[in-house]
Symmetry: C2
Subunit: 231 residues, 2 copies
């Protein structure tokens, strides 16, 4: 996989993935953080970098890295009182990446995504997450509703975010148990079976004329409310 953009490459070098080669423009190749990795760096023109990574968003650098390593979902549930973010069919790489960045900053235990009909950790997601995916535990599951059932069995409380749910996100006490919070896609929200698998549905107040928050904004608000309560 070829990741691109300053943060994507920088965080790949700092994270567990092996990086086999880096292409950078003359200017970008001078960055301090590349010093320890000189043998990997080849100079390239901006056009060559773009041809390698197939994106104009490369900021003058891209790198060949090992495939992304997902973790088993059971690993996330083996932690004491985990905080897990589950995404139900979020297909937009920008939103998926943005949520990963916030989740990493709040040091959640991990993020769970379904294997099908969901954005995977592509180079675009790496870029949108500012490289955060490198330091984040992400698990792919066959079936999100089944995962929620397992999470409940292992002692987690599962919250689904749903417009119009009567419980406000900030009236809930997240401190006692492990927490899974599920976000749906902006268009369609949570699928019925996923919503039914949650212990409680929560909503964010909407006081204006617009009908919904962006899902990455919703996720930031709820994730930091959980962090606020837990610390």
């Amino acid at each position: 996989m070829i990741v691109y953009g300053t943060n994507s490459v920088h965080e790949a070098l700092r994270g567990p993935r092996s990086v086999s080669q880096i292409w950078a423009t003359k200017r970008v190749a001078q960055r301090d953080w590349l010093d320890r990795h000189r043998p990997l760096v080849s100079l390239a023109t901006s056009e060559e970098v773009e041809a390698l990574c197939h994106s104009a968003e490369h900021q003058g650098i891209c790198a060949q890295v090992a495939p992304y390593r997902y973790v088993p979902a059971t690993q996330l549930l083996s932690v004491t009182q985990p905080v897990i973010v589950a995404l139900d069919q979020i297909q937009d790489p920008q939103n998926f990446g943005a949520i990963c960045r916030t989740a990493e900053c709040a040091r959640v235990t991990g993020v769970v995504i379904p294997k099908r009909r969901s954005a995977e950790v592509t180079p675009a997601v790496c870029r949108a997450s500012a490289g955060a995916v490198e330091h984040l535990a992400i698990a792919q599951v066959e079936n999100l509703a089944n995962f929620l059932a397992e999470a409940k069995e292992s002692g987690c409380w599962c919250y689904g975010t749903a417009a119009g749910a009567s419980a406000r996100y900030d009236t809930v006490d997240y401190r006692e148990e492990g927490v899974v919070v599920v976000f749906g896609s902006e268009g369609s929200g949570l699928r019925p079976r996923v919503a039914q698998s949650c212990d409680q549905l929560i909503s964010l107040p909407l006081c204006g004329k617009i009908e919904s928050l962006n899902v990455s904004a919703s996720a930031a608000i709820v994730i930091y409310e959980i962090l606020r309560q837990k610390t």
Copy 2:
């Protein structure tokens, strides 16, 4: 100005701006919310819509609308205990639009941006805000530091968000007075004179390896913390 995308056009029709013409593909033209505006709608191919709005992100619809009407900054300060979001040189239209969307959902009094070196309300910002800018009061000011001084004189407390500030955003009491909260650009943060014009600097906890939240995530978290306290 030609705005594009479903939400941009829909919210322009619901908001105060006059809309003089709409171009939509056959499929999009069938939407219910266009029914009351039939005389304005011309059918167009996807390519024609793209040629009109100069963006591939048009979702099959664009519209000719009146120029965006900014409000005077004094109007925001004339409100009792306003909640004002000020942006210091945020140049990315995605971030500016995303912050406007969250601000509208939280029903803030308004958003203040400097006239120079800042994203204006362009069609890309309308799209990124999901049309929220149509219902939001946005003021352009010559000088952000001077605006903060005026806000303080009128009884507001001004908070600047700055990485590493000793006060956590959630330890502050936002309930007593009017509030201005300032966000800087992701690259460089608040300019020194802007930071000095704030009564207090606040920070968001960063618990992972990534060095910063996206500014639109930070804004969502702080804006909803203010809303949480005030309601």
